[in-house]
Amino acid sequence: MTTPGQDKVKVRLATTSLAGCFGCHMSFLDIDERLFELAELAEFDRSPLTDIKHCGPCDIALIEGGVCNTDNVHVVRELRANAKILVAVGACAINGGLPALRNKLDVNDILTQVYRDPRTGEPCVPNSPELPLPLDMVYPVNEIVRVDYSLPGCPPSGDAIWKFLTDLILGRMPRLEYSLLNYD
């Protein structure tokens, strides 16, 4: 990893949101004007904030959200395969978060309850091969791929993300002081 000033090589940063609400990405943008500072240190690879649809080799991957369907599995594997450091960001990535409230229910009961023909009452669960298939439960990222770091919060504050990210980029051991460590 690079230290600014040493050379012009920027850290390549990939981000993705799986079964999350995008709150962690929004919180990432809550670094506000530090976004310009970050632009000096890092450049984006695959991220919902860019139009790079697939990940290339990169230094850090930030994963928001749990893993709830086949698509999530493919994406998180793509990032794991390409990133030196993979960080689970936010409650959903770390323990499934609120989407995991569905884990106490049978996924088919949920699907058939939500997708019914209003007239006939018959189940009509979308089944096109274009749609990712839901997993039986929502899983934390570290149960699907190896995770190097976790950054808790729902979402972690912009300050927490900034501290964690700059620690990583500058090669420090990421630490969150008390005011930055929250699960809610």
Binding site: N108, P129, L133, D136, M137, I144, R146
Partner: protein
């Protein structure tokens, strides 16, 4: 006041409406009614004037008590590793199919249920099962068929052929303890020595507790005797729940005189006048015989008041049945259980010698330890101490099972090498021996010159032998399941740790484990050892730890090539959605390999 079931009321009456008998009351109620209904709970609670939750907490703690109907015939197959090795699963499945049952479910006609349970103390004659808590050893396909026919014919258990229930002693080697002693002889010897004299001899003998911990019995007795207060208790720990042990079964069956008189002697030396035999539920078949023995002793002045005419030598014994709970073998848990509570180990200190049963000084000794007392008072501590080694005096009973020609009970002087034992029992091509049961140590041939003794290989006496063709990983996994099942749930590290350990072992067994899991195992095992509340948690990881240290390849050949594998079987996780969407396209599947 809820409707009181007369049958239940009568049982509660019989126990003089004494709440410390909740467990006994529930056991008897279940024998009559096949399960413990909410009504039964209400009746027991209101008649004992205790919260219903106290009855429920007992009901839900012991695995042989059922809060739902389990059928008139309740079959439990022992599932210790030795039963596995003897093919219990094939027999179990044969029975399930004969009776059209699913594991753990009751037959549609409500007649019968079958499930697996922990070791039942029959490793020398497994595979074994319990029918309504009555042991049936030496199972074969023929026996299973016979049992199925009896069940289909709805034959009451007491009409089943006695042969089914015959339990062999399988005594293979005797020294001093396994030789008969005439009733009263030991008592007379104690009386002759007097209370102090008896205690002195026991101390002089240096006899150490045979339950495994090896605490000097004399010191324990003295502590109890010196503890303030008039009332004291002796508890004979006949819970023998450690997988692979069964020597107490033999002592209680054929040497009850030694055991019961040993208890009386303990009472004499400590000033206790009341003793309990805490008999594990799996040994129900011994209960009646033991009770007859006690009644006979009382009739002949070997129990009761002024025993053998010695004024002030008052002692009596009561049998207290367990109901399936390994942890109750832990002294303080046993006392909780005796008090009619869930068998959760107490916080120590204080020690039981000061604060035990009902808060009174209590001596809890192993069956074998108490039996030794009869030797000591007769021959004197000095002579006793000549046997065995300096730090481990006397003889030791070993329960030998697994891959050998002559499984059974062997009596040796302490200090015997493991190699010698293996030779005597006809064990050939041995890859490992599990000594001391699931919580013990796993030794490999390079260690067979070590000696059975507290200063070398301490043990309550279980030796499970594994031949070269045995899969030690499966041994460890069996024990991991055992501990997850038997953890009492009181402390965090054991309650959660044993579950994590079991789940990881299962994952590896399914071929979904990776290096990551191996490291996790090590971490959890060490954690449980350091932080658990009692011996169960401290030792719950031993088998896995030893298997990892000594049979690493048994793990490695099951591991994923990668250093990490998903916690779940992704294909399985997609199954429900595939079903509801009737999809089977490529996108509806996931390979576990990333």
């Amino acid at each position: 006041m809820p409707f009181a079931d007369p049958i239940v009321s009568a049982i509660v009456e019989k126990y003089r409406n004494n709440p410390t008998y909740v467990l006994q009351i529930l056991r008897e109620a279940q024998e009559k009614l096949d399960w413990i209904s909410p009504e039964t709970v209400e009746t027991v609670a209101s008649q004992l004037k205790i919260p219903r939750t106290r009855v429920q907490s007992v009901l839900h703690f012991y695995s042989f008590l059922y809060d739902k109907p389990r059928g008139r015939y309740r079959l439990l197959f022992a599932d210790n590793i030795t039963d596995r090795m003897a093919g219990n699963i094939a027999l179990f499945e044969h029975m399930l199919s004969r009776l059209k049952l699913k594991r753990g479910e009751v037959s549609s006609d409500g007649l019968v249920s079958a499930d697996l349970t922990s070791d039942t103390g029959m490793c020398d004659q497994g595979p074994a099962m319990l029918a309504n808590n009555c042991a049936i050893p030496r199972l074969t396909m023929r026996r299973i068929d016979e049992i199925c026919d009896l069940i289909k014919a709805r034959a009451p258990l007491d009409e089943w052929p006695a042969e089914l229930f015959r339990v062999e002693d399988n005594i293979r080697r005797r020294e001093t303890l396994l030789t008969p002693v005439a009733p009263g002889v030991a008592l007379d010897a104690a009386i002759a020595r007097g209370r102090q004299g008896t205690l002195d001899e026991v101390k002089r003998s240096n006899v150490r507790g045979r339950g495994g911990a090896g605490f000097p019995m004399g010191t324990k007795w003295e502590g109890a005797r010196n503890a303030p207060g008039a009332v004291r208790y002796i508890v004979c720990n006949a819970d023998e729940g450690e997988p692979g042990t069964f020597k107490d079964r033999v002592l209680l069956n054929s040497f009850a005189v030694r055991v019961l008189e040993g208890m009386a002697i303990a009472g004499y030396a400590t000033g206790a006048t009341k003793g309990f035999v805490y008999l594990r539920g799996e040994y129900k078949h011994l209960q009646a015989k033991l009770q007859r023995e006690i009644d006979d002793m009382r009739a002949n002045g070997r129990l009761g008041t002024s025993i053998r005419g010695a004024a002030g030598f008052d002692f009596d014994i009561e049998i207290h049945m367990g109901a399936g709970g390994y942890v109750c073998g832990e002294g303080t848990a046993m006392i909780e259980s005796l008090e009619g509570k869930p068998g959760r180990p107490r916080v120590r200190p204080p020690s039981m010698v000061h604060v035990g049963y009902l808060g009174k000084p209590t001596v809890v000794d192993n069956v074998e330890s108490l039996a030794h007392a009869t030797e000591i008072v007769v021959e004197g501590g000095a002579r006793f101490a000549k046997r065995g080694t300096r730090f481990s005096t006397g003889t030791k009973l070993l329960s030998i099972s697994g891959d050998c020609e002559r499984p059974g009970v062997y009596e040796y002087q302490f200090g015997v090498t493991i190699g010698r034992v293996l030779e005597d029992c006809g064990a050939k091509a041995v890859s490992a021996v599990q000594i001391g049961g699931a919580s013990g140590v796993l030794l490999t041939p390079d260690e067979f010159s070590r000696r059975i003794a507290f200063e070398d290989v301490p043990t309550a006496g279980a030796l499970m032998i594994f031949g070269v063709d045995r899969d030690i990983f499966e041994v460890a996994r069996n024990f991991a399941h055992f501990f997850a099942h038997e953890s009492c749930g009181f402390c965090t590290p054991c309650r959660v740790g044993t579950t994590i350990q079991r789940n990881i072992m299962d994952k590896i067994a399914e071929g979904r484990g990776a290096r990551y899991e191996v490291n996790e195992l090590k971490r959890v095992v060490g954690f449980m050892r350091r932080t658990s509340h009692c011996g169960l948690g401290e030792t719950a990881g031993n088998a896995v730890r030893d298997a990892l240290d000594k049979f690493r390849p048994a793990f490695e050949r099951r591991l994923h090539a990668k250093d990490f594998a998903p916690a779940i079987d992704l294909e399985r996780a997609l199954e429900p959605a595939r079903r509801i969407t009737a999809r089977d396209d490529a996108e509806a599947h996931l390979e576990t390999e990333s």
